[in-house]
């Protein structure tokens, strides 16, 4: 391997200890990659000087795509030439992050030839992140990726790569087929994913049940959380086995129920399903005894985001319950209406959640033609400054009555 040999006493400290070490990973890659080697050098300098040495991202990409590659350049190209260009490629992961060793080896072989050999499995949005390559390699990388069946993910002001929990593939609680929906939406919105044309990013996350293993409520502009409408399924015998096995069902289950809708009389578990909030707690504690009902679908929430620009938001209810059955036409029509409105009236770098805060949820719903529902608010307004759009004038009332009669 060409290039400098760096002394890295600070980073070496991070090779010790029981948790797997990212420094060992960089060193492994550095055995063959001068890029990874110079990354080590620059990182040691950051550890000494307590500051990063990366420039603002530049615009680079592959032909026909507006996203998927994030330009990255070192501030110290002379000192660390291997990282003078150190671009990131986002590769759209398969739904549920399932792989065969063959598919992963294909990516590794490509990345050994054409990049630093370093990756994130996976990035926060869900993509396979390939860390560190140069501009000239982008087209060959794209060609080899596509030859093995992989495509780029999103970046910039576009649909970001959708992600989902493993759902029906390995979870008894999945209330809809998260992987199928995630794949379907990813395919439907390829253009929006690859060509940024929005005010800002738009993320989809699909969780199969209210446990929300993919943090959709906090990390996606549109969160799909599986739920059910009918009664929780109870296997009384298995409940008894849990209790006989030592489960403190009163303290650990009944008193933890947010709907206060469970009763245990020493023999039988009673659930007042009308008051159940579908929180999953009792089912989580007794997976062998309880299960979500059979009338399953999803609750769709909108608008969560990290603090930038106007403060962090959690998603809030947009559609309390909907069956998740292909081809998802009703949902996609709502999405199109949301995008039309937000693209028209949203400000640059305004996430949809912030847009809703600015224009008001009521106005937003009206514009996308969704009826307001009590499920959408934690409580109705406390503030009496109501913006009525119309007022009555003398004579109006009579007309109204006439209309009703006629």
């Amino acid at each position: 391997m060409a290039g400098a040999t760096y002394k890295t006493p600070k980073l070496d400290e991070l090779e010790k200890g029981p948790w797997p070490s990212f420094v060992k990973e960089i060193k492994m890659a550095a055995r063959r990659s001068p890029m990874a080697n110079d990354l080590l050098g620059q990182l040691e300098k950051s550890y000494t000087e307590k500051i990063g040495y990366w420039k603002h991202g530049g615009i680079v990409g592959v032909m026909g795509y507006g996203g998927g590659v994030i330009g990255r350049y070192s501030q110290l190209p002379e000192e660390f030439p291997g990282v003078s260009h150190f671009h990131t490629i986002r590769v759209n992961q398969p739904a549920g992050w399932f792989y065969t060793s063959k598919a992963l080896r294909g990516i590794c072989d490509m990345w050994e030839k054409r990049g630093s050999g370093l990756t994130n499995m996976h990035g926060s949005t869900g993509d396979i992140v390939l860390l560190g390559t140069v501009t000239d390699q982008l087209e060959p990388i794209f060609a080899e990726l596509t030859a093995t069946g992989f495509d780029l993910g999103g970046s910039g002001s576009d649909v970001r790569t959708p992600s989902c929990c493993c759902g029906k593939a390995r979870c008894e609680w999945a209330c809809y087929d998260t992987m199928a929906v995630c794949y379907d939406f990813t395919m439907s919105f390829q253009d929006e994913l690859h060509r940024p044309a929005f005010p800002y990013k738009y993320k989809f996350k699909f969780a199969g049940c209210p446990n929300d293993c993919v943090a959709s409520v906090a990390r996606s502009d549109m969160s799909f959380i599986g739920t059910w409408r009918d009664d929780i399924k109870v296997n009384a015998e298995e409940v008894k086995k849990y209790v006989d096995g030592g489960l403190d069902i009163i303290n650990n289950v009944v008193l933890n129920c947010p709907g206060k809708c469970m009763k245990w009389d020493g023999k039988k578990l009673e659930i007042d399903n009308d008051s159940c909030r579908h929180c999953m707690h009792c089912i989580n504690v007794m997976p062998k005894a309880l299960a979500p009902g059979d009338d399953r679908g999803a609750c769709i929430l909108i608008g969560s985001k990290a603090p930038i620009v106007e403060g962090a938001l959690l998603s809030s209810v947009l559609i309390p319950f909907i069956k998740m059955e292909p081809p998802y036409t009703e949902i996609k029509e709502i999405i199109e209406r949301i995008w039309d409105l937000w693209c028209e009236e949203g400000k640059a770098r305004e996430r949809v959640g912030e847009f809703i805060q600015r224009v008001g949820m009521g106005n937003f719903l009206e514009a996308i033609e969704v009826e307001p529902l009590a499920e959408m608010v934690a409580h109705p307004r406390e503030n009496p400054y109501v913006f009525y759009e119309d007022y009555f004038e003398e004579g109006d009332e009579d007309e109204d009555e006439e209309e009703e009669e006629g």
Partner: protein, 360 residues
């Protein structure tokens, strides 16, 4: 660049997941009945058909080399017919049909330096961002703190002795690529010095109206400097969000003396019991102290162990604090309550205590 566009496929999306599902999953897709945690990091899912699928979960540093991915592939080939998956928290999972393979696989993972755990009442891997390894915005490193914290908390990954689940996340600036704001413990890199205006570059690199518009607190004003248009920062209005820096590289906030870490507690995303909650500020500032950030590590460990010693079964950090109340939390944690703990952005008033229900 000569690229033959006629041959070039675009917009065909990710590979269809079905080709990556092991036969046992294809056969039992949607038919799983229940699961049990057999031991730390190992669970079995049982299908209506009676089929049993064993999962072994191992921790990972997220930043991994292709060598490590190939190691994972070797293990998948050896024990799982070549199938494997990753979790939303960067763990790697091996899916087995033969129970006898569990222990040899765990032994091989240990030899590779990867602990098995993270299932049930345990700490899972820390969701985190790029830090000094790869980002221009970073107020701290990500991987180094995560490694140092997990070295100290590893026993809570490889056991299930905690009262409930504990989710830790780290973001190295307020952009929060990892959206850490709903974690039991969030470690967040922060800047504390207003942007330094590089007047000579700003003219060429940035559009002044969009820079001015980018500031949520109107702390940026256009001015003339030596006859050229530039901007000035009203420092007392700056809350160090770095929004301006995101749109304009000539306004760097990075500063070794002032950058560091804040610690937030009590957030959650799951709906189980309590609704999802934001994390709230516990420790406003700890200076960067690489390579091992000992002050951050001991603060996080202290919070984990305080919660573990006092929470009821299943109670997440935020549920526990809500029960005991925040003043008590500050006293028990030995954290001094300061001005910085009181919100002063939008809707701050909603966070004031508006009742006389106080504990002693």
């Amino acid at each position: 660049m000569a690229v033959d566009m006629s041959e070039r496929k675009t917009d065909f999306g990710p590979p269809h997941y079905e080709q990556f599902l092991p036969p046992i999953i294809k056969e039992n897709y949607g038919k799983w009945k229940y699961h049990e945690v057999l031991k730390p990091g190992v669970m079995v899912h049982v299908s209506a058909s009676g089929a049993r699928l064993y999962t072994v979960r191992a921790g990972s540093p997220r930043l991994i080399s292709i060598d490590k991915i190939r190691n994972y592939c070797d293990l998948a080939d050896k024990y799982c017919g070549g199938y494997l998956r990753f979790t939303s928290r960067h763990n790697v999972e091996f899916l087995l049909t033969d129970q006898k393979n569990i222990d040899p696989l765990i032994a091989d993972l240990k030899a590779l330096g990867h602990p098995v755990g993270g299932i049930g009442n345990a700490i899972s891997s820390i969701v985190h961002t790029q830090g000094w390894v790869h980002c221009h915005s970073a107020a701290t490193d990500a991987s180094g703190i995560v490694k140092s914290v997990m070295d100290e908390l590893c026993e809570y990954f490889t056991s299930t002795k905690l009262p409930g689940k504990l989710r830790i996340a780290l973001a190295c600036c307020l952009n929060m690529c990892g959206a850490v704001h709903c974690s039991d413990i969030a470690i967040l890199g922060i800047h504390r010095r207003p942007p330094q205006v590089k007047h000579d570059r700003l003219r060429k690199e940035c559009e002044i109206p969009s820079v001015v518009a980018a500031c949520p607190t109107a702390a940026i004003r256009p001015i003339m400097v030596d006859g050229n248009p530039s901007v000035e920062i009203l420092e007392e209005n700056c809350m160090f969000c770095a929004n301006c820096y995101t749109v304009c590289p000539s306004l760097p906030l990075n500063d070794p003396l002032n950058d560091g870490v804040s610690i937030w507690v009590g957030g959650k995303v799951s709906n189980a019991r309590h609704e999802p909650m934001f994390s709230k500020l516990a420790i406003p500032f700890i200076p960067n102290n690489p390579p091992r950030w000992p002050e951050v590590v001991s603060a996080v460990k202290g919070l984990v162990e305080l919660w573990a010693a006092n929470a009821r079964p299943y109670e997440r950090m935020g549920e526990w604090i809500e029960r005991i109340t925040w003043p008590k939390f500050f006293r028990m944690a030995g954290i001094e309550f300061q001005k910085e703990h009181i919100d002063d952005f939008k809707h701050a008033g909603l966070t004031y205590k508006r009742s006389a229900q106080l504990t002693r």
